[in-house]
Structures are given as structure tokens and as C-alpha cells.
């Protein structure tokens, strides 16, 4: 399991990092799709089947589509390197801050005695999950539904203009 985990971890981090360094927006989007898949793989590894597939469906299926559309709709010239290299000061600041966050958090994680309670993690069946969803967090489910509807309408309203079609709506 450690082997699988390390592979997945490497995939996630490598693809994410690489994506962040690429200059071609479409490449970034597509490479991030790999990241989403890797994360889904992590969920599978952790025994959360449902979440894994939902992750793929939503991220690879919907969000990356939306991203790609945004790329295409906001593109100046075909295949243009739409990313001017950010000026170094910002990059340095960003890296230092990111490092600081990672360092502090990592330090905190490492020095807190966290022992896995269950060696072999629990496995949840979709049926249990559904039952649970219909239980105490039912209000939350409703609220999320409202949020999604509102987001959908809002997206249409914001992006609506003689040019745009329904694509934002469908995510």
C-alpha cells in the first residue's frame, strides 16, 4: 500500500507542480486533469469509491471543460503563449510565502502525535452513503442544491451576452 501511495503522491505533486510551471494554458488545463485523476486514485486507495468517481465526473468531466472553454473564449491568438512570465519579485514573494505555509504546517503535522486509529480503513458502500446523506445532513443537501442552482443562474447571468451560449450553464 505504501508503494501505491507513494506513486499516487508523486503523480499528484509532480503533475500539479509541472502544470503550474507550464506556459501554454491548454497544456496546464490538460495536465491538471491528470492531477484530478491522481487525486481520484488517492480516494480509491483510501477506499472512498464513490467520491473518487464523483471527483472524476466533476473535475475531469465538468470543471476542466469549463476551464477549456474559458481558455478558448478568452484567447487572443491561436496557440499564443497567453502567459507572460510573472515578474520575479512576485514569484519570490509567492515562493517564500508558499514555503512558509508548507513549512509551518508540515512542522505542525510532524510534531503532533497523530496515530491512525484504524489500520485498515473503513469502506463505505454507496447505499450507506446515500442513507447517511438523507439523515442528519439533509438540510445541507438542500442548501447545496440551492447553491448549485443559484451558481448556475448566476453564471448564465454574468456571462450572458449576444456572444455566449449555454456552456457555462452546463457545469
Amino acid at each position: 500500500m505504501n508503494f501505491a501511495f507513494s506513486v499516487i503522491a508523486f503523480l499528484i505533486l509532480a503533475t500539479a507542480a509541472a502544470a503550474m510551471c507550464l506556459r501554454q494554458l491548454v497544456h496546464v488545463a490538460l495536465l491538471l486533469v491528470v492531477t484530478w485523476f491522481a487525486i481520484a486514485a488517492f480516494y480509491l486507495w483510501a477506499g472512498a469509491e464513490f467520491v473518487a468517481f464523483a471527483q472524476i465526473l466533476i473535475y475531469a468531466g465538468a470543471i476542466s471543460m469549463v476551464v477549456l472553454f474559458a481558455v478558448l473564449l478568452t484567447r487572443q491568438a491561436p496557440l499564443s503563449p497567453s502567459l507572460t512570465p510573472a515578474h520575479p519579485g512576485r514569484v519570490v514573494a509567492a515562493l517564500s510565502l508558499g514555503g512558509a505555509v508548507a513549512g509551518t504546517m508540515g512542522y505542525a503535522i510532524l510534531r503532533t502525535p497523530l496515530a491512525p486509529a484504524s489500520a485498515a480503513g473503513p469502506v463505505v458502500s454507496v447505499r450507506e452513503l446515500g442513507m447517511e446523506l438523507m439523515g442528519s445532513p439533509l438540510a445541507a443537501v438542500l442548501i447545496v442544491g440551492v447553491i448549485l442552482t443559484a451558481a448556475l443562474i448566476g453564471a448564465v447571468v454574468i456571462a450572458a451576452s449576444p456572444g455566449t451560449t449555454k456552456e457555462e450553464e452546463s457545469s
Partner: protein
């Protein structure tokens, strides 16, 4: 106990349901509303026939079904249905005539695009009327009674965009209210003294011996028996509804409504309600006949009022120039006849006349409606004429109605019922004056009906509208024919030779007598009728006027009287001058009080308040404002300084956010360390 009685409520329920449906249908759904209304009324007609059959089976019993509406303190308010020949006959009559009128108005209202609303109102009206008929409790009766008033208001004012119609509706409503006020007082008094409002309740009803004895026992101010007082109060309501003398003024104006409404109101339902009410509470009215020490008997008042109304209506009808107004005044006078009959103690004669009158008056109104519809809403009989060639069927049926109303002998119902009334009046012991008034009215009736017929149908057409009128669709003529047949036949229900109707109503066995009680009297009245007809014929029929502007022959004989009659005895002006003035004066007094007294107070209060405000303002400007200005200056400066931090650049904010996050984590770690 009759198994049919508990379900009696279905009779009014059906039209009310139809009314509800019609009210909910959009303007477009005229077909739905119309068909529902007609079907509902037909259904209740069938039910009424069943009721009649089961009632005639046992004429003398009052089959009742009572239920408790709600408990109030110790006592309970109770309602109930009542089934006896009176109710059943009235129900059949109302539903039958009503159905015919509904069918007629399908054709009459073809052009109107509010027909759905119209039929909803009609159904409401019919339902309310049926409710009045079947109710066994004066309270329920009063409720339905008021409902009838409301429906009549809605219907008369159906063309509310016509100011005249709106005014007429208001007038009818208010005038009848005056009567209903008395009715309501009587109702309260009755329930307070008799303890119940149920008519028949197995010996405890307010129309049964026990209660009546209690009522007649005590007397009130003016040497009136209690029952007399209550009866007279209730009679106020009846007079209001069925347009008796002082309160008859609303009835002619009600002609502003659509003609089917006039037919419904004047023929079958609303005006009949008053007569029916008196007939229903007849035992109460009759109760004080036994006593001799009282100043006046209720029925005496009724009789005189009726006689006056009969004469007055007939007089006024002679001078009217609007078809529907003529008919309206004739209705007034016919109602007077009915009241007269009630007053002189023969309520069966009254109901008999009510039934026959319902048929031939509905016939006349529908005929007038057909004429008006054909002549493009021309109602002035001076501007009509010569229709007999163009509208044969209408002419024929109208003639039948006219002869029935005029009381042409032997073949027309009006004759029999009127004769019955006159006979009763003749036998009345108290006074003969009503009889003579009635006889005069007979002659006058014949006169003005002949005049009307001659003016409208004979002679040359006097306007384009009349010239181009043509016969209406069968939808409108068929009801005329049916009604004409009834107007002929109903008379034979109550001929002295075979008085089935009277017997059934009174609950006696049918005892045939001679064809006419006393030949001389009958001959006399026939003579009066003949005189009226022939006089009218001489004036109008022999050489009918040729131009619309030509003066009325009658006016050439006695101009001042004619003009006075045409102005309807100046009664409206009289009311306006008296009651109207009075109320206006009271209003003025109050207005003056208002201006002088209250306004002064208010003004002074306002003045004080204004001064306080002025002082306040001084304080503000001197003291507070300076401080506020200083403070807000400071705030603005601070804001300017602070807003430099707002670069509007997302990354900057994010950076600060991240740094803050790091700091927080560090704090957490150090805290956790200890």
C-alpha cells in the same frame, strides 16, 4: 316523516354550485358557465318536481328537518328545511320560469362578453331565492333574503358602466335595506320573545300554537298585540322587497338592468319573495284576528297598503312611455293585489295570483326583451310600433300575456286569480274600500295593457329601428311559447269549479263549486275590463299615432294629471326633498362641528409642536453640528489614509492573507507547545 326532506337543501345547492363554477370561469368560458347554470337550474327543477309530488301526497303536514348551526352560550342557533305544498309549488314555479329565463338570456346576452359573470349572478340569484323558499328558520330565510338583495344589486347594476344602471342598483339596494331593517328588528324581537326562529318544530316552532298564544297574550305600546307589532315589522321587509307603496320607487328604476334580469326579478323571484314571506308567516299575521281589544290588526294594514299599491301602480303605468317601466308599474300593482289578498285573509288566492302572475309577467318581460333585442335596444314605445308584421310569434305570445294580465275572461289565468282575489276582498268584513280600489285598478290594468300592446305592435313603424326589427332566434322565442301556454293553463288550476290549488295549499279536500260564485260581481268586473280595453282601443288602437313625436292621446284629455303621473307623482322628488334633505342637514351640522371645534384643537396642537421644533433646530445648529463636522472630518481623513492600502490588486490581498495564516499557525504551534 318524508324521506325526501333531509335532502331538500340540494335544491338551492345546485344553482349555488353553478354560481361558484361560473364565478371561477374566465371571461372566455361563457359556454361552460352558461351550460353549468342551465343544467344546475334544470336539476333543481327536477328535484322540485319530486318535492311537489311528495308534498301533494300529504298536503296538510309541514315536513321539517332541523339541525343545529352552532351553540351560542346556553342556547343554540338552529336552522332547518321545510317542505309543504306552498314551498313545493313556489320551488317548481321559480325553477321552471327561471330555467326558461336562463335559456332566453343565452340568446339575449349573445353580444355581451361578460356573459359568464352574468350567468354566475343569475345562478346565485336563483339559488338564494330557492333558499328563501325552503328555509324553515326565519334566520336562514333572512340570510337568503339578504343574498337575494345582493344578487339583485349585482344584476341590476350589471351594466355598471351605465351611470343610470349603477344608480338604479344603489337605489334598489338601499330602498330594500330600509325594509329589511324593519324585518331584522322584527326577527330579533321574535327570537327574543318566542325563543326560537324555527317556523315548525314539532310544537315548539314560532308559528305554532304555543308560541303564538304567548305572542298574542302581551301587548306593547299603542295597544298593539306583540304579534301585530312583530308582524308589521316583518311586513316592512316584505313591502321593501315586493315594492309596496311607500317603498315601491326602486322597482321601476330596476329596469336599467338587462331585460332577463327584470323578468327574473319582477316575475318569478325577488318581488315574489315578499308575498311568500307574508304567506309563510301567515299564522303570525293571523294570530291577532281573534283579539278585539287591539287598536289595529296586522292584516288590515297589509290589506290597505296592498290596495293603495295596486291602484297607484295601475295609475302610474298608464302614463309611462318605456315598455319595461309600464310592465314594472303593472308588477307593482299586481303585487298590490297579492298583498290585498293576503290582507283580506285569503292567502291561497294571493299565492294563486302569484303563480299565474309569475308566468304571464315573465312572458311579458321576455316578450318585451325580445322586442327590445330585435329593435336594437329601443325601449320607448313612442318610437316603436308596427312590429306585428315583423315579429309574428312575439306578437302572438305577447298578446296572450297581455290578455292574461288584463284579465280577459275565462281563457286566461289572470282572470281567475284576480277574480279570486276580488271575491275575497268582497267577503272581507272590515271595509269595502280596498275592494273598490281593486276594481278601479282592474279597469286601469286593462287600459294600460291595451295601450302598451297597441303602441308597440299596431300601426306603422315609427323609427328605423322598429322598421328593421326581425324575429329572434328560437332560443329566445321557444321560452315565450312555453310561457304563453303556461299563462293560459295555470288559470285552470284554481277555478272555483275545480279549486285544486287552493285545496292543496290549504290542505283541504277539493270541493268543486259553481263556475263563478256570484254572477253579478263577475259580470261587473268583466264590464270594467271591457270598459278599460275599449277606452284604450278608442284612444290608441283605432287610429294609431304615426309619428314618434305625436302627443299621447291621453295627455290631450287631462294634461296636468297626465304630466303628474308621468313624473311618477313626484315621489322621488318628494323623498329627496324630505329624507334626503334631513340627512343632508345632519351631515352639515356635523361638518360644522368638525371645522370649528376639532380643527381649532388640531391647529393649536400643531402650532405648539412647530415652536418646539424651532427651538430644537436652534440648539442643533449652535451646539451639535460643530461637533459632528469635526468628527466626520476626522473620519474622512482616516478613511483617505486607510484607502491607500486598498490597491485593488487581488494578489496583494492574497499575500497578506497567506502571511496572516502563517502567523496564526505559528501562534497555534507555540501555544500547543506549552
Amino acid at each position: 316523516m318524508n324521506p325526501f326532506v333531509p335532502h331538500l337543501w340540494l335544491i338551492p345547492a345546485l344553482p349555488l354550485l353553478a354560481a361558484a363554477i361560473g364565478a371561477l370561469t374566465p371571461r372566455g368560458g361563457r359556454t361552460l358557465a352558461t351550460s353549468v347554470a342551465v343544467l344546475g337550474l334544470v336539476g333543481s327543477f327536477v328535484l322540485s318536481c319530486l318535492a311537489l309530488r311528495s308534498a301533494v301526497a300529504a298536503p296538510s303536514v309541514h315536513a321539517v328537518f332541523n339541525l343545529t348551526w352552532f351553540e351560542l352560550g346556553t342556547g343554540a342557533i338552529r336552522l332547518g328545511w321545510l317542505l309543504d305544498p306552498l314551498t313545493a309549488l313556489m320551488c317548481v314555479m321559480v325553477t321552471f320560469v327561471g330555467t326558461l329565463i336562463f335559456v332566453f338570456s343565452i340568446g339575449y346576452m349573445k353580444e355581451d362578453d361578460n356573459a359568464a359573470r352574468f350567468f354566475a349572478f343569475l345562478s346565485l340569484f336563483a339559488g338564494a331565492m330557492l333558499g328563501v323558499l325552503i328555509s324553515n328558520s326565519l334566520l336562514l330565510l333572512f340570510l337568503c333574503w339578504e343574498l337575494v338583495g345582493l344578487a339583485s344589486y349585482l344584476l341590476i347594476g350589471f351594466w355598471f358602466h351605465k351611470p343610470a344602471a349603477a344608480a338604479a342598483a344603489k337605489k334598489a339596494f338601499l330602498t330594500t335595506r330600509i325594509g329589511d331593517l324593519g324585518f331584522f328588528l322584527g326577527l330579533l324581537w321574535l327570537s327574543q320573545s318566542a325563543g326560537t326562529l324555527l317556523f315548525y318544530d314539532g310544537g315548539h316552532g314560532c308559528l305554532e300554537a304555543g308560541a303564538l298564544a304567548a305572542l298574542t297574550g302581551q301587548t306593547v305600546a299603542g295597544g298593539l298585540a306583540l304579534s301585530t307589532a312583530i308582524g308589521l315589522l316583518i311586513f316592512c321587509g316584505a313591502a321593501g322587497k315586493s315594492g309596496q307603496f311607500p317603498l315601491h320607487v326602486w322597482l321601476p328604476d330596476a329596469m336599467e338592468g338587462p331585460t332577463p334580469v327584470s323578468a327574473l326579478i319582477h316575475a318569478a323571484t325577488m318581488v315574489a319573495a315578499g308575498v311568500f314571506l307574508i304567506a309563510r308567516v301567515y299564522p303570525l299575521m293571523l294570530a291577532d284576528q281573534a283579539l278585539s281589544n287591539v287598536s289595529v290588526h296586522a292584516l288590515t294594514v297589509v290589506a290597505f297598503v296592498g290596495a293603495i299599491t295596486a291602484l297607484l301602480g295601475a295609475l302610474l303605468a298608464t302614463a309611462q312611455t318605456d315598455i319595461k317601466r309600464v310592465l314594472a308599474y303593472s308588477t307593482v300593482s299586481q303585487l298590490g293585489y297579492m298583498m290585498l289578498a293576503l290582507g283580506v285573509g285569503s292567502w291561497v288566492a294571493a299565492i294563486f295570483h302569484l303563480l299565474t302572475h309569475a308566468f304571464f309577467k315573465a312572458l311579458l318581460f321576455l316578450g318585451a326583451g325580445s322586442v327590445i333585442h330585435a329593435a336594437h335596444h329601443e325601449q320607448d314605445l313612442r318610437r316603436l310600433g308596427g312590429l306585428r308584421r315583423r315579429m309574428r310569434l312575439t306578437t302572438l305570445t305577447f298578446a296572450v300575456g297581455m290578455m292574461a294580465l288584463a284579465g280577459i275572461p275565462f281563457f286566461f289565468s289572470g282572470f281567475w286569480s284576480k277574480e279570486a282575489i276580488l271575491m275575497a276582498a268582497d267577503e272581507w268584513g272590515v271595509s269595502q274600500i280596498p275592494l273598490f280600489m281593486g276594481l278601479t285598478a282592474v279597469a286601469l290594468t286593462a287600459f294600460y295593457m291595451t295601450r302598451l300592446f297597441a303602441e308597440v305592435f299596431l300601426g306603422p313603424p315609427r323609427t328605423e329601428a322598429a322598421a328593421h326589427a326581425k324575429e329572434n332566434s328560437p332560443l329566445m322565442t321557444l321560452p315565450l311559447v312555453l310561457l304563453a301556454i303556461c299563462a293560459i293553463l295555470t288559470g285552470f288550476l284554481g277555478t272555483p269549479a275545480w279549486p285544486w290549488l287552493q285545496a292543496t295549499l290549504a290542505g283541504d279536500p277539493v270541493t268543486p263549486r259553481a263556475l263563478v260564485e256570484s254572477v253579478p260581481k263577475v259580470v261587473g268586473s268583466i264590464g270594467l275590463i271591457a270598459f278599460g280595453v275599449s277606452f284604450a282601443w278608442i284612444l290608441y288602437g283605432r287610429r294609431p299615432r304615426t309619428a314618434a313625436v305625436a302627443a299621447d292621446p291621453a295627455s290631450t284629455i287631462l294634461p296636468p294629471i297626465y304630466r303628474f303621473l308621468q313624473a311618477r307623482l313626484k315621489l322621488d322628488e318628494f323623498y329627496a326633498a324630505t329624507f334626503g334633505r334631513l340627512i343632508a342637514a345632519v351631515a352639515i351640522v356635523f361638518a360644522v362641528l368638525d371645522r370649528r371645534l376639532l380643527e381649532g384643537l388640531v391647529a393649536s396642537v400643531a402650532w405648539i409642536a412647530r415652536w418646539v421644533g424651532k427651538l430644537n433646530r436652534q440648539g442643533d445648529e449652535r451646539g451639535l453640528n460643530a461637533g459632528f463636522n469635526l468628527l466626520s472630518e476626522r473620519l474622512r481623513g482616516g478613511g483617505r489614509a486607510y484607502s491607500r492600502g486598498q490597491t485593488g490588486e487581488a494578489h496583494g490581498y492574497l499575500r497578506i492573507l497567506a502571511a496572516g495564516f502563517v502567523v496564526l499557525v505559528l501562534i497555534a504551534i507555540s501555544k500547543g507547545g506549552r
